[in-house]
């Protein structure tokens, strides 16, 4: 089994959670947040991870090299609210060993 990675997720109340995420279950950041219940059910991952709702928008605080943004993610973020320079959709960030030490903050619900 591949190694779990350590990541930090700051929830919508500003609380930081240091958690372990598996890298061998094809999970993305949105799913990790849901698996740890760091945001109430129904407020994150509404579209299921198709980059179609922006409910998993987050701000990436660490300097990790992230997967390049695809057209659908870019388009969705261009319609989302509270978007910043470091905004990404959690559902488009896969948990891989390269994400060790990632720190993200969940964007407000909208």
């Amino acid at each position: 089994m591949e190694q779990d990675i350590n990541i930090t997720i700051i929830d919508r109340d500003g609380v930081a959670h240091n958690i372990q995420a598996p890298t061998d279950m094809a999970m993305n950041l949105m799913e990790v947040v849901r698996s740890y219940e760091l945001a109430p059910e129904g407020t994150i991952g509404i579209c299921g991870g198709m980059a179609m709702c922006a409910s998993c928008q987050c701000y990436v605080n660490s300097n990790h090299e992230l997967p390049e943004m695809q057209d659908d993610e870019e388009a969705m973020l261009s319609e989302a609210f509270n978007v910043k320079e470091n905004s990404r959709l959690g559902c488009q960030i896969q948990m891989t060993p390269a994400m060790e030490g990632l720190e993200v903050e969940l964007a407000p619900e909208s």
Binding site: P40, E41, G42, I46, C47, M52, A75, M76, S78, F81
Partner: protein
């Protein structure tokens, strides 16, 4: 007053399949949905996305699944109250319920099945400081009656299908249509994008990109909007208009159902999954993505199963003590409420000479 046997709140896949299962038990259904069309999330969010875990369908588009479910339940003549949100529920002395929508439409039924998924879809409102002052005074988040815009100046904001489609439609109705989007690229069907390009070239739609509306002008009603454009150099300017229509998609909210006295956990309604998916209020059931119980999975196929068991319990409430055993459709066929009958062809008995 609309009267029915099972009042279903939510016309998504689970709600639609309930109509079929109820029909087999000769129970009639009526559905309420806040969206203007049936299908729920499947129609509203991802009609063109394939689903791979519907039994016997290796692959089916979400929009096609809705069409198939509607076709499957058609002979049981479901009633629909669409574009209205279930607002209040009142239990009557005889144990039946009256559910009233936000538009005042009343529905009377002995059994209520909440199949509301993640909730009713509410428009996402852009963060413009004074937007709430102008709601229904020139700001509309959903276009209900296009005639409202006849010979008016309209500004639409958004980059998805609804922004494109309405820009196209209103270019023939309004005196002036301006479409504003934060990027040059649009997220929509290619033919819609091409059509808007064509209308722009003809001067029938003003396109302003990359830009966004940052303020609304007017006293008691909308007189214009403030636009910030960021191409090359940043500039701000005003556009005169009678209506501002921000179309930034919809997001589901549990809404008024949260105040119905139901036990809620994790934004979902707690039910008895050992028996019949009934809530803490007898006669009210919750099925599909909107319910919760130990081990719950939010899958369409689980909603179908929950709907089927729920209908058996509804039968007992509506026909107390009346005998019934499960029948297979292969054996008994289907008798529609519209007088149609579907049945297996009779086996041919023929002598071999």
């Amino acid at each position: 007053m609309i009267k029915t046997d099972i009042l279903i709140i939510g016309a998504g896949p689970t709600g639609l399949f309930t109509v079929f299962e109820a029909g087999l038990l000769k129970l009639k259904c009526h559905l309420i949905d806040a969206l203007p069309q049936p299908g729920g999330q499947c129609s509203e969010i991802y009609p063109k996305k394939p689903i791979y875990d519907i039994p016997a369908y290796p692959e089916i588009l979400a929009g096609d699944l809705t069409d198939k479910l509607l076709e499957q339940c058609k002979q049981f003549e479901p009633g629909f109250t669409l574009g209205e949100r279930a607002e209040t529920i009142d239990k009557q002395d005889d144990g039946t319920f009256i559910v009233t929508t936000n538009k005042g439409t009343k529905h009377h039924a002995p059994v209520v099945a909440i199949a509301s998924g993640l909730g009713s879809f509410e428009p996402r409102k852009p963060l413009i400081h004074n937007i709430s002052d102008f709601e229904d005074k020139g700001v509309e988040y959903i276009i209900k009656d296009p005639e409202l815009y006849r010979d008016k100046k309209v500004v639409i904001a958004g980059g998805g299908d609804s922004a494109l489609d309405w820009s196209i439609f209103l270019s023939d109705v309004a005196s002036e249509v301006t479409l504003i989007h934060r990027r040059n690229e649009f997220r929509g069907h290619l033919d819609s994008v091409e059509k808007v390009q064509e209308l722009k070239n003809k001067g029938k739609v003003n396109l302003i990109t990359p830009a966004e509306v940052i303020g609304i002008l007017g006293a008691r009603k909308v007189k214009g909007v403030v636009v910030k454009q960021t191409q090359h150099i940043e500039k701000e300017f005003e556009i005169e208009c009678d209506h501002f229509v921000p179309l930034f998609g919809l997001s589901p909210k549990l809404g008024p159902i949260a105040n119905w006295g139901l036990e809620i956990e994790k934004n979902a309604i707690k039910v008895n999954n050992a028996l019949d998916y009934q809530t803490n209020i007898p006669g009210i059931f919750a099925i599909g993505d909107g319910n919760t119980y130990p081990g719950k999975l939010k899958l369409i196929l689980c909603g179908f199963h929950e709907a089927t068991l729920m209908c058996q319990a509804a039968y007992q409430i509506i026909n107390p003590g009346k005998r019934y055993v499960l029948k297979y459709t292969t054996v008994s066929g289907i008798d529609g409420f519209d007088g149609t009958r579907k049945e297996a062809p009779k086996a041919v008995v023929k002598k071999i000479e």
